[in-house]
């Protein structure tokens, strides 16, 4: 009996120790109120009264059924405080993640896993620039700073409550991390990240250097022309020959045809000879790997906007539409809300982490944003000596400035020349590449601009707000009660170049790395506001700016560094706007939902005419028949888009592979993605193919015969599709091979949403971008597209919007994907009046009643 008891005691002790040990590991899943489950309370939105320290007076937040919060405050400070509180309630983890990304301190949460991302942030200068701007705004714009502080205070008030209730997002408990105290620094730092994500110049100049040194001028210019082949003065964002407020290139005695016939890869444009450009290939590759491989991967390029003047709209009043194309996150980058306070009534989308409304409307105005794709950063080749940490400038050696920071208890140092941080250097060559970026030298007053937009009541105030915009340069779409227009807002650094005919011209950006060891190629100021590309109430009745070239050949400050997308979306939008008058709100919405591919409309007839000359049978014949009857739309249930797209992949490979192989670019393939490179989402190559196929089918690009390329590619693609999808061609639906996956911002793939079939492609106005890097694959995962859609007409009080998500980041919440289905089906929600109230929150000052 005793022996058995002793054995049992030992057994029970062992069970006890093991169970206790395992229990502590699994504690986060326990039913305890200290576990992850109290977070489930935040999934539901219910009426509540919350007492908050720091609030000055009561605030009411009405949350409507479509997930829009209407914040009604008696004081502007309180409105921003409540915005911060609401944002944190809905998106705390996302907010803090973004803030930490900008601060370059993700490794404090994730350790070595994100060290590379943090180093990237410090190299580009997000935290350094944020501190610079923070001090500037604090001193020069104290009122705006106080609103930024109010937003942070609101966030921190929520953190205190959530910690008390143990209702922090579950990810904090799972990763065993704690939220940090949010400050305006993090808002600015996150703005820097977004800004850099949309900035052009540095990476494009490096890629073009690599391509040019391998392909030479003729082939580079043929594949990546200064302007896409279909561009003309009607298609540019600013219509006409490029003259702006009476100034053009000819004003400086320069003929546009002469100017654009020049080789801007040549020494006069960059201060470097071809031999040097070739020798620095290892440096260029290193800089591309260091900075341009985009470890943060927050934003990409694309977006649509157009504005209709009153005499071209059905109502007789101006209207605008905007859909910025960004990485589609789940939760979205955006949060829909309205802020009402004395002298403030703004509705639209907050960029999570940034106080106020970035894209939206007041009662009298509306505005939106697209990317203009001109250089606001540049790459400089520096002569350096790392033995004594100096750089050569105008024949004199200067000490490199040192910036030291600490991550994971390790010190890191970045060296600066007068042009910016040395992104990479080679001790043997005594050369380095530095990054010049506007934000290093100019405070990020875009935040000030946002506050002014949110308070605008007329067109003049919209334009005034544009004056403060710094980075990223943006096509600011604007409508008021009676005016419609756009301006490419922001600071474009100007570089003075001496043309071969000895005339000096100030240009934007470059086609290659610039010589940084002399002052000749340093920025000499910015494009004056008066001469930024713009168009206000144009006689043709519409303005449109979906990333096509902003200004044409005679623009006085030529975009040598203009890295435009293919013009595909611009063509479709132009064709529609140019052929329609009396446009209604519904038509604006339909155009946003248009899934016609302009390049398919040009290429497919040529392709079909090639294929019809062949005697195909069976499935090959069926494929030709489907392509022959296609109207170039990309809906999920169509088969033609599948055949066309895979054929286009093969055509691209059959055209590009021999060039890449022959010129030794094969090893750099992963670096050749982007608008001015060979691969990506909406680059120039597809428009090149369309142009040459229809204008010069016997071009050397096609080895003398486009039809030959088409026939080969067609057979390859049908064989591939048969292998992947079977012999029943009716099963080859576009939605089967082209699927949407909403990305988790922290990169946790099991929290991604999808895949679900999706319309469109990279060239349709309703864009659904997938990546193509030369390897043919299936399915095509779409992770970038219209991150929101708005259609506004302030005069008629019509404001409609939709975005692919919901307000909450809690995946258990019905508010996680509130508007996703509407977005997928091209439906919209009116922002006002407030109907179908889901919850009302009363935020009261602590100690109040």
């Amino acid at each position: 009996m005793g022996k058995k008891s002793y054995i049992l005691i030992v057994v029970f002790l062992i069970i006890l120790i093991i169970a206790s040990y395992l229990g502590q590991i699994f504690f986060v899943f326990s039913p305890s109120k200290q576990s992850i489950w109290p977070y489930s309370y935040t999934a539901q939105l219910k009426n509540q009264t919350i007492y908050l320290k720091g609030l000055k007076s009561p605030v009411k937040i009405i949350i409507s059924k479509d997930g829009v919060a209407h914040i009604i405050a008696n004081d502007t400070y309180d409105a921003y405080f409540a915005e911060g509180y609401y944002t944190a309630y809905m998106r705390l983890f996302q907010l803090e993640l973004f803030g930490l990304t900008g601060a370059g301190n993700l490794s404090s949460w994730f350790g070595n896993l994100t060290l590379k991302t943090d180093l990237y942030a410090h190299y580009v200068g997000f935290p350094q620039n944020a501190n610079f701007t923070l001090n500037y705004v604090k001193t020069h714009y104290p009122v705006i700073y106080s609103y930024m502080q109010a937003y942070s205070d609101g966030i921190n008030a929520y953190i205190v409550n959530a910690e008390k209730q143990h209702e922090l997002p579950f990810i904090f408990y799972l990763l065993n991390i704690k939220p940090y105290n949010f400050t305006p620094f993090y808002s600015i730092a996150w703005g820097e990240v977004m800004s850099w994500g949309l900035a052009k110049g540095f990476c494009d100049e490096l890629k073009l250097t690599l391509i040019y040194t391998h392909l030479g001028y003729n082939l580079t210019n043929e594949l990546l022309p200064y302007y896409p082949y279909y561009t003309n003065g009607s298609l540019t964002a600013m219509p006409g020959n490029g003259t702006v407020n009476g100034l053009n290139l000819q004003s400086f005695n320069v003929s546009p045809s002469y100017f654009w016939s020049l080789n801007f890869y040549d020494t006069f444009a960059n201060g470097l000879n071809n031999k040097t450009l070739s020798e620095i290939t290892p440096l260029v590759v290193s800089a591309l790997n260091q900075i341009c491989s985009d470890p943060i991967s927050i934003v990409d390029l694309g977006s649509n906007e157009w504005e209709i003047t009153g005499n071209y709209s059905y109502t007789g009043y101006p209207m605008m539409a905007n859909d910025p194309h960004l990485t589609l996150y789940d939760p979205s980058l955006w949060l829909p809300l309205q802020m009402i306070a004395p002298n403030l009534n703004v509705t639209g989308f907050e960029l999570v982490g940034e106080p106020g409304v970035l894209i939206g409307h007041t009662k009298y105005t509306a505005w939106g944003l697209t990317t203009p794709l001109g250089a606001s950063s540049n790459a400089y080749l520096e002569i350096i000596n790392m033995q004594n940490y100096s750089y050569l400038y105008n024949g004199v050696w200067y000490p490199l400035r040192k910036y030291t920071f600490n991550l994971l208890n390790k010190n890191f140092t970045i060296y600066y020349t007068n042009n910016g941080p040395l992104i990479t250097f080679n001790n043997t060559l005594h050369l380095g590449i530095s990054l010049y970026w506007v934000n290093q030298y100019y405070p990020f007053l875009t935040l000030v601009s946002e506050f002014l937009l949110d308070n605008s009541t007329n067109f003049e105030q919209l334009l005034n707000a544009a004056k403060y915009w710094v980075e990223p340069t943006q096509n600011l779409a604007m409508v008021s009660m009676h005016h419609a227009g756009f301006i490419t807002a922001g600071l474009y650094p100007l570089i003075k170049i001496n043309l071969p005919n000895n005339i000096t011209v100030k240009v934007i950006g470059a086609r290659t790395v610039l010589n940084g060891s002399i002052s000749n190629y340093e920025p000499v100021g910015y494009v004056p506001f008066k001469y930024l590309p713009q168009s206000i109430d144009p006689s043709r009745g519409f303005i449109f700016a979906p990333n096509q070239p902003t200004a044409y050949l005679d623009y006085p400050f030529p975009f040598v560094g203009g890295y435009w997308v293919s013009d595909g979306r611009a063509l479709t939008i132009y064709r529609y706007l140019n052929s329609h008058k009396m446009i209604t709100i519904n038509e604006m919405e339909s155009l946003q939902g248009n899934v016609t591919d302009a390049w398919a409309s040009i290429l497919n007839p040529v392709i079909v005419s090639c294929l019809k000359n062949q005697s195909y049978s069976g499935i090959f014949r069926e494929g030709v028949s489907i392509l022959s009857n296609w109207n170039y739309t990309f809906y999920q249930n169509e088969i033609a888009p599948t055949i066309y797209t895979y054929m286009l992949f093969n055509i691209l490979d059959n055209v590009l592979n021999p060039i890449i192989d022959q010129h030794g670019l094969n090893q750099y393939r992963p670096l050749l993605t982007g608008t001015v490179a060979f691969y990506g989402t909406d680059n120039l190559i597809t428009s090149d193919i369309a142009y040459f196929a229809s204008h010069n089918p016997s071009s050397s690009l096609f080895n003398g015969s486009f039809c030959k390329i088409v026939n080969t590619s067609y057979v390859q693609s049908i064989n591939y599709l048969t292998q992947k999808l079977g012999y029943n061609i009716s099963n080859w639906n576009w939605g089967k091979v082209h699927v949407l996956e909403l990305q988790n911002p922290a990169g946790i793939s099991s929290l991604n949403y999808g895949p679900i079939p999706i319309w469109g492609d990279g060239f349709t106005p309703s864009a659904a971008y997938f990546n193509f890097n030369g390897t043919i694959y299936m399915p095509l995962i779409v992770s970038e597209g219209p991150s929101l859609r708005i259609v506004d007409s302030p005069s008629t009080d019509q404001f409609y919007a939709v975005f692919p998500g919901g307000p909450s980041e809690n995946p258990a919440s019905p508010w996680f994907e509130t508007q996703l289905n509407a977005w997928l089906n091209f439906e919209y929600y009116p922002f006002s009046p407030i109907t179908n109230i889901t919850a009302i929150w009363y935020l009261l000052p602590e100690g109040g009643s």
Partner: protein, 120 residues
């Protein structure tokens, strides 16, 4: 069932509910387990130790909005690569084992003590 056992059950159930909801340490389950250890019959002691620990900590999930809890469980299960139900059951199971083993341990110690006293 005698009165003492009923009191033991009630006290240990209450302590299980309080400890597993309010505290962050699973080994607090030892305390109700010790109380259950005073039940004389070994089988009753072990079964009730396990069941009280398991069922009453499981019951506490009812404190949360069940539909949202279920959705959250599914998401986290997916994240952890485990079926959601495992996430919910594993802690109560361990709690039950802790109460079982501590009850068993105390019970055996008491049995040995009693035996020694009777030998003397």
């Amino acid at each position: 069932m005698n009165k003492i056992n009923i009191i033991i059950f009630i006290v240990s159930i209450l302590l299980t509910l309080i400890f597993s909801y309010f505290t962050s340490y699973i080994w607090m389950g030892i305390i109700p387990g010790i109380i259950i250890g005073f039940i004389k019959r070994r089988s009753t002691r072990l079964i009730s130790g396990f069941l009280i620990g398991f069922l009453f900590s499981l019951l506490l999930y009812l404190a949360y909005p069940l539909n949202y809890l279920a959705s959250l469980d599914k998401v986290i299960g997916n994240l952890a690569g485990l079926p959601g139900i495992i996430l919910l059951i594993i802690y109560p199971l361990l709690y039950g084992l802790i109460e079982l083993s501590s009850a068993g341990f105390i019970g055996e110690v008491l049995t040995l003590t009693r035996e020694r006293k009777s030998i003397k």
